[in-house]
Amino acid sequence: MRALIRFLSRGAAGTVEQRDRTFAGEAITLGRATDQVLHLRDRRVELEHARIFLRGDRILISSAAIAGVTVNGAVCRDAALRPGDVVAIGSNTLRFFAPPPDFDVAFSFELDAAARVTEAARERPVLDLAATRMAKRPWAWILFIAIGAACLIVPALGMKEEGLGGTLRARGLPNDGWWISGALSPAHQNIGTACESCHALPFVRVRNQECLACHAPTLHGHGSAGLDHLRAERCTACHVEHNEPTTLVRRDARVCADCHRDLARVVAEGIEVQPATDFVALHPEFRVALTLPTKQGPLVEQRMRLDSAAGQERSGLAFPHDVHLDPAGVKSPEGKVVMACGDCHQPEEGGGRMQPIAMERHCASCHRLDFEPADPERTVPHGDAAGVLRTLLEYYSARYLEEYPDPHATSRPERLAARPGVELTAAQRTRALERARTKALATARDLFERRTCHQCHQVTAATAEDGSPTWIVAPTMLARRWMPKAHFSHERHSTALTECSTCHSAADSQAASDVLMPGIATCRECHGGSAVAATPAANLVPSDCALCHFFHDPDSERWVSNP
């Protein structure tokens, strides 16, 4: 499109000066913005007010402005223009006339009229932020209300109305989950989003009764001490949720040391107590639980300090570890056998402690209980002293009554009488049984006192009430659990320690009375106290009380943790 724009300016003396401009392009833009083709300096005019363009051979004016344009006195948005038309935009006037040759459009524009208006309506440049669209107050209100609603009002409403709360959560809208300061511990995950199951009353701290809705009230027996005063404490004093890192149990040594520094203050009289504050700073030597015989009555388990002279096991067995672990091998029915710890000490399921030693499983393959070289498959029972003699009597009686020839027969008729198919006379039978009894007693004495039982057990010969000889085997009292007040896992230690001998010096042990449990000094080679966490340079394992000890009653299975 080629356009002729004729600018008219009126001089002071009434003369009119005209200057023609040529425009070539798509459209003539009219507006207040400085990049418009026809710049209209009038506040009533929008930045981009209107466009004049060709469609076919028609001249069109189109305005997106609210005020529109006035064509020949009529306000409109779009209009076709012909020579003679007058277009008014604000106070500006465009007069269209017949375009000269080579031009598609021609109109005149009176400059002075525009200038007159613009002098009055002339805008000062916007040079202050306050004059722009920037504002403080509306944004202050918007932020205050939006944050207040999203973070407090709406979640609080959802908290009161359960249905609303569920909807809010499901849709990810503002809900009371936004208030959670940290994750729940894994043990409480099942509570999920039911905040009210613990936070039952608003503005009231979580009460013990909310805990006891799920947990047994006998939890805090704390072993034998029976410390009832612990029940007066708030559960949340020790069990804090929504904190990071997530630990439901406060493992800080001070929780324990509070009382254990001076236990005599809190426990009943007569209970032996040892002060402890930290595994390294103050902790008594380990005490092993030994089953000890008493003069009368049942056996009792006593805990003896490892470093005391009384810390000797009295199992009633003879067992030299050194002989069994001889690198050259130990004698066995099949010749010399080299044994390892694991041949007898096998871990329980889970790898924590070791299974108890059992004669049948661990000893019997070498320590056989056969008694008759001619009949090596026959054995006496284990663990039943009276049964041994009974077995021998039955075995030899049957054999002497049935077998031929009687190796002990002295006269020919007797030897003849004992041949198969011949009924023994009563006298012969009596003689055979007497001989069987003599043989059985001799074998029993051999087994008990010299050959088999004696090897491991303490056996004393005695006389029964009926005058017959008998043997008493001292009871065996292997420790059931060496350290019942602490938990320990062999498996957890197996990654760093592969040799049993690191902790258990079995290879040098000559007597079964040796307690091969490591003392606290051995553990301290790797385990530091709780202070270690602050100074990791020592390369020690930080060890708080709860690493080994229970707080809750260990007899309550549910609470036995084995981390």
Partner: protein, 296 residues
């Protein structure tokens, strides 16, 4: 404002803020809670209480500075306290968090507080630095004087241009009318000069004309220089030269005005962040405190 705000009353509030911060840090390092440090220990509640009280006190500054009749301390003293205690607040509240952060209301409040303090810190920086830049730039002229100067320059340009035959008057009119500085916040902050000018195309009368970018009067000066180089008439050369010198002065004045508006905008812009976020922080603080005790 000048540096004396920071040195107000022999830095009384600096010492108060330092004492608060040092006490907070000392207590935090000495305190060994049974659990990980958090806002729920006795120290956590104490730090939180001090922090909340400080926030309310700092917000009151907005009221105090508008209460011209108030005799509750001088506004200068309040501002000094506002700056120093606001900095101490960052330390106190960071300790209150126990360095536990998450996607929740509590961390939102903390984040908003940090933004408010950061914008305030920028404000202190701006007030210390920009007034010098402002007076260095404008010399002893006020903005009003610069605008009047610009108007009178424009008149002289018009008079000089109308004396020259040809398109000079049109170009200079469009140069005047299409001068555009400021306008939007972004333009002010960037110091943008989005002026344009309409110059006749070089093709002569039959050619087209268009509005071209004219920052710092560059386009119009180029056009004038072009005309000057073609001028063979001594009078015309002198007239164009006179016009160029006027437009060059206009260019310097416009640059000064733009720079003035830019510095003033930077001097004020942080308040447009600081004030709305402060109110957002107030809402978040209320939500934080109520939510914590609602689910105690």
């Amino acid at each position: 404002m000048h540096a004396s705000i920071l040195a107000f009353a022999r830095k009384r509030y600096l010492w108060l803020a330092l004492a608060l911060s040092v006490a907070g840090i000392a207590a935090y390092s000495w305190h060994r809670p049974l659990d990980a440090p958090n806002g729920g220990t006795w120290l956590g509640y104490t730090l939180g209480g001090v922090g909340a009280a400080l926030i309310l006190l700092l917000l009151l500054f907005g009221i105090r500075k508008r209460s011209y009749r108030s005799s509750l301390g001088t506004v200068q003293g309040w501002l000094s306290a506002h700056v120093y205690l606001g900095t101490a607040l960052l330390i106190i509240v960071t300790l209150h968090t126990g360095f536990q952060f998450g996607w929740n209301v509590h961390t939102l409040a903390y984040a908003l507080m940090c933004l408010v303090i950061a914008s305030g810190a920028f404000g202190v920086f701006a007030y210390l630095r920009y007034p010098h830049a402002l007076s260095d730039n404008r010399g002893n002229l006020t903005r009003e004087q610069m605008l009047e100067e610009l108007a009178s320059l424009d008149d002289r340009c018009m008079r000089a241009a109308t004396r020259i035959p040809g398109a000079f008057a049109d170009v200079l009119i469009s140069n005047r009318d299409r001068t555009s500085i400021g306008g939007s916040a972004l333009a002010l902050l960037a110091g943008r000069d989005s002026s344009r000018v309409v110059v006749p195309a070089s093709g002569g009368a039959r050619g087209s004309e268009r509005a071209i970018d004219n920052p710092e009067q560059r386009a119009v000066l180029e056009w004038l220089a072009d005309r000057l180089s073609r001028s063979t008439d001594g009078t015309l050369t002198q007239q164009i030269g006179e016009l160029m010198s006027l437009v060059s002065t206009r260019k310097l004045l416009l640059r000064k005005l733009t720079r003035d508006a830019q510095i003033r905008a930077w001097l004020e812009i942080w308040l447009y962040v600081h004030v709305p976020l402060s109110f957002g922080l107030l809402a978040a603080l209320i939500a934080h405190v109520v939510a914590v005790f609602l689910y105690w």
